[in-house]
């Protein structure tokens, strides 16, 4: 195998969960937790998979380890397809690919002394010589800085950080090539995180370990990882070297993640920018670019001369109408049966839409839609909004473009915006 060949290569990995309803448990849809992701990981390299909770990072980890069988795509490990492994090969794979989990309090069976838990891989894979087991356990414990004398203690006698190191010791028993670390430090205090990360670094250097580091914490990722893949709703939206990607994000979602990180300077407070709205339901992901429902720089329609910020507000209003989130009668009641004029202003205010759009055509279309809405004809309002205020971001899936250092899937990078 040449050095350039990746140890792990994931192509178009998909994991869908059926949504079942009713008495007969019919499948009525699918939660597309992971919807076609590609990853490559070389020996000795650390790749971060980042995104909000619910974006499918953990599912991706479990399906690429074949702990849950993927719905589609291929995982190749050391050149061979994991999906086609027979039992023996799968056992071999299980020894070489290890998993480190987020919550150290759950990582150990509370009823078994930690030494025995660390030796568990040997039970499973049939290493029975007691002397050899003891020697190996002691070695692995020392390697993670735990006194082997304490091996007969129970998990509750260790701190969170120590348990995470013990979990690492267990993962190291077979000298693995790949370590999938699913938020391994996010449940820990800062100082403890630092300890775990530096330990991981040392072990990686020594054993040429490839690490897939799953995290939502940009600060940790910047400190620890080489490359990053940013995931949103089951898809990878941007990838590249960590520093380059976070210094100059090419995808608005990456930018939003970076912007949301609080500074450590009380003088600069208030600069962290939250991202509006929640992650949409993965059973019914938005069309086109999945981020368009929250994207602060969504592309306005060419027909109108309005800026992205204003278009965002109109789009929010449109999405609220579509989600049936606006109850005109109730609003009227709250405003003490105010005039239609006041209701219009109130609606615009709620969604941050300016009193009058700068583009005359756009303003006419919006006014017409608001009139229909106030007249109680939501369907007409929605149709008006959907024909006038539409964006390429929702119509077409963005292609993945090369960036100076990696790639990003965003229509803003299209060479000639395809309106």
């Amino acid at each position: 195998m040449s050095d350039d060949d990746p140890l792990l290569s994931v192509r178009d990995l998909k994991k869908h969960y059926p949504v079942k309803r009713g008495f007969l448990r019919r499948t009525v849809g699918h939660v597309r937790a992971v919807d076609g992701i590609d990853l490559k990981l070389r020996r000795g390299e650390t790749l971060a998979l980042v995104g909000e909770s619910g974006c499918g990072k953990s599912t991706a980890a479990r399906s690429l380890l074949h702990l849950e069988s993927p719905t589609g795509g291929e995982v190749r490990f050391d050149g061979a397809s994991v999906g086609s492994f027979d039992d023996g090969e799968l056992n071999q794979f299980r020894r070489r690919a290890q998993l480190l989990l987020q919550n150290p309090d759950e990582a150990f069976n509370p009823r078994i002394p930690v030494g025995e838990s660390v030796a568990e891989p040997m039970d499973i894979h049939g290493v029975s010589d007691p002397e050899r087991r003891e020697e190996l356990v002691a070695d692995r414990l020392e390697r993670v800085g735990i006194d082997p004398e304490t091996a007969d203690r129970y998990p509750h006698e260790f701190s969170g950080g120590q348990k995470q190191r013990l979990a690492l010791a267990r993962a190291l028993v077979f000298d693995p090539d790949l370590l999938v670390a699913d938020e391994p430090t996010s449940a820990l205090d800062e100082r403890v995180q630092t300890r775990i990360l530096s330990l991981l670094e040392t072990l990686q250097d020594r054993h040429d370990l490839a690490i897939l580091f799953i995290s939502h914490d940009i600060r940790t990722v910047r400190r620890f990882c080489d490359r990053v893949a940013v995931m949103y709703l089951g898809e990878i939206v941007e990838r590249g070297p960590v520093e380059a990607v976070f210094e100059d994000p090419q995808h608005p979602y990456t930018q939003a993640l970076v912007d949301a990180v609080p500074t450590l300077d009380p003088g600069e407070r208030g600069e962290a920018k939250p991202l509006d709205g929640d992650v949409p339901d993965p059973a019914d992901p938005p069309s086109g670019c999945r981020f368009h429902t929250r994207c602060p720089v969504v592309i306005p329609p060419e027909a109108f001369d309005i800026d992205a910020e204003t278009f965002r507000t109109v789009l929010n209003l449109r999405l609220a109408v579509a989600a049936d989130d606006i109850d005109v009668e109730r609003l009227r009641g709250r405003l003490n049966d105010a005039s239609d004029e006041r209701l219009r202003t109130a609606l615009r205010e709620r969604y941050g839409v300016p009193d009058s759009l700068s583009d005359g055509d756009a303003e006419r279309a919006l006014s017409a839609a608001l009139d229909s809405l106030l007249a109680g004809d939501e369907e007409a309002a929605l149709e008006q909004l959907e024909t006038s205020f539409t964006t390429v971001c929702e119509r077409r899936e963005p292609e993945t473009h090369d960036t100076p250092v990696g790639s990003a899937a965003c229509h803003r990078r299209d060479e000639s915006p395809p309106f």
């Binding site: 150290p104 990582a107 499973i124 010589d129 070695d139 000298d175």
Partner: protein, 374 residues
């Protein structure tokens, strides 16, 4: 840090294709095979008596079967002597539980061997003898086994707990009742609870159709009151203790299985289960190594609950006169009593059994959890 190179594992000692069952499982299988061959021998060859004068009742066959589970438990405990010693060390700190264990074991030992030492005999000559330290007018007794002072018959060592109106020794009656309670205990604790545990574990861990079938079965079982079925069958055929045990055994494990199932479900997605799965552990390994020990709370609690319930139910049914009058259970003794000293030992024994079982269960549950370590 130790040497630069990790000591590598030698894969020649990697497990080969076939797994020999563990010693505990082997013991169980050998036990089942032995009981089955004895049964076949009894059925085809020996006819009425298996050995000597021993006519094995259906209940005793079940008891023999439960002994093979018991033997497997003993072997499993012996294989994990260190853990067993640790559990015992912790159990010992709970004085109440230790006393209860002594009481409970005494009842079981008396139940197992007592009837051979003190069989029940009828002797109308010595009917209604008072217990030791009590006296009764000579007019009321046919003859007196103890001293007679001023027309009063005193209790004697020959019948320390007195006798009933048929001249049966109350001590022997109580011992006979202990035997029935012991048989029920063994069968409930060693056949019914393990069945509930296996069903609960599998349903909880596997989910899907396994779970659906198990839950449907449990639901169906719980909608039918066992006592109704029992009364129905008893009205049509013979009354036997085996029928009682089989029926109530079959109808009583549902709630236990349900509890174990829900405990299993809560744990099947926990980190250590996932970690073991990623290490390549198969379902058997996961259930045995991780889920069973962590639902042992529920198993112990369920056992400590189920055993006295079954013993008390038998007493209740005997009290309702729905069991075979020849079965000298505690309930039967209570119902047929006409003098105060006849039911008293049985009632005390019933209460002692129920309370000690509960206390042993609580003590064991706490002792099994290493987090309670001091």
């Amino acid at each position: 840090m130790p040497s630069e190179e990790l000591p590598m594992l030698d894969w020649s000692d990697e497990r080969s294709g076939f797994d020999w069952p563990s010693p505990a499982v082997t013991t169980f299988l050998v036990g089942v095979a032995a009981v089955s061959s004895l049964y076949l021998y009894d059925y085809y060859v020996a006819h009425v008596y298996l050995v000597g004068q021993w006519k094995v009742s259906p209940l005793e066959w079940l008891f023999l079967l439960s002994l093979s589970v018991f033997a497997a438990l003993v072997v499993a405990t012996a294989r994990r002597r260190r853990d067993a010693a640790r559990v015992w060390r912790r159990f010992r700190t709970d004085t109440g539980a230790v006393v209860a264990l002594f009481v409970f074991t005494s009842i079981v030992v008396i139940g197992l061997f007592g009837p051979y030492v003190r069989p029940v005999t009828h002797n109308l000559l010595y009917a209604t003898q008072p217990p030791l330290f009590f006296e009764r007018s000579m007019v009321a007794v046919p003859s007196c086994s103890g001293r007679v002072v001023e027309g009063q018959c005193h209790g004697s060592l020959r019948f320390p707990l007195g006798t009933d109106r048929f001249g049966r020794d109350v001590l022997a009656l109580t011992v006979a009742g202990a035997r029935i309670a012991t048989l029920i205990t063994f069968i409930a604790g060693l056949l019914v609870v393990p069945l509930a545990t296996v069903v609960g574990l599998l349903a909880g861990y596997r989910g899907g159709w396994v779970d659906k079938i198990a839950v449907t079965g449990i639901d169906a079982q719980q909608t039918v009151p066992a006592i109704i079925v029992y009364v129905l069958i008893v009205s049509l055929s013979n009354r036997s203790l085996a029928l009682f045990v089989v029926l109530f055994g079959l109808f009583s494990w549902g709630s236990a299985a349900r509890l174990i199932r829900s405990e299993t479900r809560q744990r099947r997605e926990l980190g250590y289960v996932l970690a073991a799965r990623n290490l390549g552990g198969d379902t058997g390994h996961l259930l045995r190594r991780h889920l069973l020990p962590n639902v042992s709370n529920a198993v112990v609690t369920v056992t400590a609950h189920l055993v006295p319930i079954l013993v008390l139910t038998e007493a209740a049914i005997a009290f309702l006169d729905l069991t075979n009058p020849d079965l000298l259970s505690w309930g039967r003794t209570v119902v047929s009593a006409q003098h105060w000293w006849v039911p008293l030992p049985a009632v005390i024994a019933l209460v002692a059994m129920a309370v000690s079982c509960k206390l042993v269960g609580d003590g064991l549950r706490d002792a099994l959890d290493p987090r309670g370590e001091r």
